[in-house]
Amino acid sequence: MNPGKIFKDGLLTNNPVLVQLLGMCSTMAITTSLFNGLGMGLSVTVILCCCNVCISLLRKLIPSTVRIAVYVVIIAGFVTIVDLLLQAFLPALSESLGVFIPLIVVNCIIIGRAEAFASRHSVGEALLDGLAQGLGYTAVLVIMSVVRELLGSGSFGAGVFNGGKGWQLFPAGYACSYLTLPFGGFMTLGCLIALVQFLRSKKGEAEK
């Protein structure tokens, strides 16, 4: 399988959130700022790559009857490692993501890729797929968090750019603060998926 197609799949045509509609909880929950979104996205990407490689390596050894349980154990192992690493080196991120780091264990994207891809492909391909799907997930998180941070608190990149301060583009008093709340998560993701469906139907029409 060629790497170009794997990447195109992960980022666009088979994007885990926008097309496969997986991993919604964390997508909506933590995308209140670019800092959170980026941190969560990269953590998932790392875990996804490691799990994919690991499962691809072991795919001949795992008996198919207990495979799901084995996947869960492997995933939980890597999640624990990442969780501990974040606690040690990026306590601010660990603090603001809270339970959503350990909850990566039940993120359907990872177990989904393990079952659908890693268990059937070579190590190299599995690594690429993990990277592509992870980056696709990260991309969505980044878009969501940029929109919600900008419209919801008037700032951009707080905690990431400009020495951690980010830029305040307009006074927070004019921002629609509800966008940073759960309401905003549902709305933003809803509109984003609608946009994707719109583009896909346009593309489908054009192809006809």
Binding site: G173, Y174, A175, C176, S177, Y178, L179, M187
Partner: protein, 316 residues
């Protein structure tokens, strides 16, 4: 000539009310409360109302046009939404706020679901709650003309602090208090409500059960010693009357059976009091109606009338 006859389905006669005339009557019923608002707060209220109505009408027209659907301005429902929205705003809000509110009410809450009759939530109230995003702007009050500038806090926010407000109940009844454009005068709202009841646009079940529930709860659990005064203030201040008469009775987002309507009113009343007493918002009317909006389908389901011929004894 005679054989060129029109064939149509029965019934061949129709009753008087149509959607348009019902909406027009709601607009007429809202007028007294709006006039009191204009009188107390002056020109800004006129501007806010104009922007709110204009924005609702514009977005209704624009959306239907973009979506290539029939134009529905003629049913006046957008005007009603605009008026209701402006009535729930403070007279001190900047004009861009009702503009955004109109967009949210018409496009997100109403038209995205297919327009009139298809939305599950009251557009004006949902927009008002959405506008609380700008909490500082929504909660800035001006004192009405002829009232001490000191008391620009609304009676409800004073009562949140467990104290009785400075205005007398009579002031609240007539509209000599701070508050949203359309909510200050209980008298004007009751007048509008009476008109709606008399012209059979609304049935009394929702407003009565709503108001009674609030009255009973606040009378039984007063803050302070004066039960009756406390209850009166609770009934007359805030948006309770506006909500009970005009918002909770919105056909589209309220139950279609009488028993359902009573339960709906009671639910609104209980949640209103709970939010007023224990919540962080001083007013609970909008949120309580929105929450009860979610239950409309279930209430209709549970209170489906007994169809003729399905009596228990008759079934044997």
């Amino acid at each position: 000539m005679e054989d060129r006859l029109l064939v149509s389905a029965p019934p061949h006669v129709r009753g008087g009310d149509d959607t348009q005339s019902i909406m027009l009557r709601v607009i007429i019923a809202l007028t007294p409360a709006l006039l009191v608002g204009f009188w107390r707060f002056g020109l800004p209220t006129l501007m806010i109302t104009a922007v709110s109505v204009g924005s609702c009408v514009f977005f209704e027209w624009g959306y239907r046009r973009l979506a290539r659907k029939s134009c529905t301005l003629g049913d006046y429902s957008a005007v009603v939404t605009g008026l209701l929205l402006s009535m729930t705003l403070s007279p001190a809000v900047p004009l861009w706020l009702p503009l955004i509110g109109g967009f949210f009410a018409i496009v997100v809450v109403k038209q995205l679901y297919g327009g009139l009759g298809k939305n599950f939530m009251n557009p004006a109230l949902a927009a008002r709650c959405f506008l609380f995003s700008w909490a500082a702007l929504m909660n800035s009050w001006v004192s009405p003309r002829g009232v001490d500038a000191v008391s620009s806090a609304t009676p409800l926010s004073v009562m949140k602090g467990m104290a009785l407000p400075a205005e007398s109940p009579m002031d609240c009844f007539l509209g000599l208090r701070a508050g949203c454009i359309g909510e200050i005068s209980a008298a004007a709202l009751l007048l509008g409500g009476a008109y709606l009841l008399l012209t059979k646009v609304i049935r009394p079940h929702i407003p009565l059960s709503y108001l009674l529930t609030v009255a009973v709860l606040t009378f039984l659990f007063p803050r302070g010693n004066e039960r009756l005064t406390w209850m009166l203030y609770q009934l007359l201040s805030g948006g309770l009357l506006l909500g009970a008469v005009f918002m909770a009775t919105d056909y589209v987002t309220s139950p279609g059976t009488d028993r359902g309507r009573v339960l709906y009113g009671i639910g609104c009343g209980v949640i209103t009091v709970v939010i007023r007493y224990f919540g962080s918002y001083p007013e609970g009317v909008s949120f309580s109606i929105l929450i009860m909006n979610l239950l409309v389908w279930l209430l209709d389901k549970w209170t489906t009338p007994r169809a003729f011929g399905y009596k228990k004894e008759a079934n044997t």
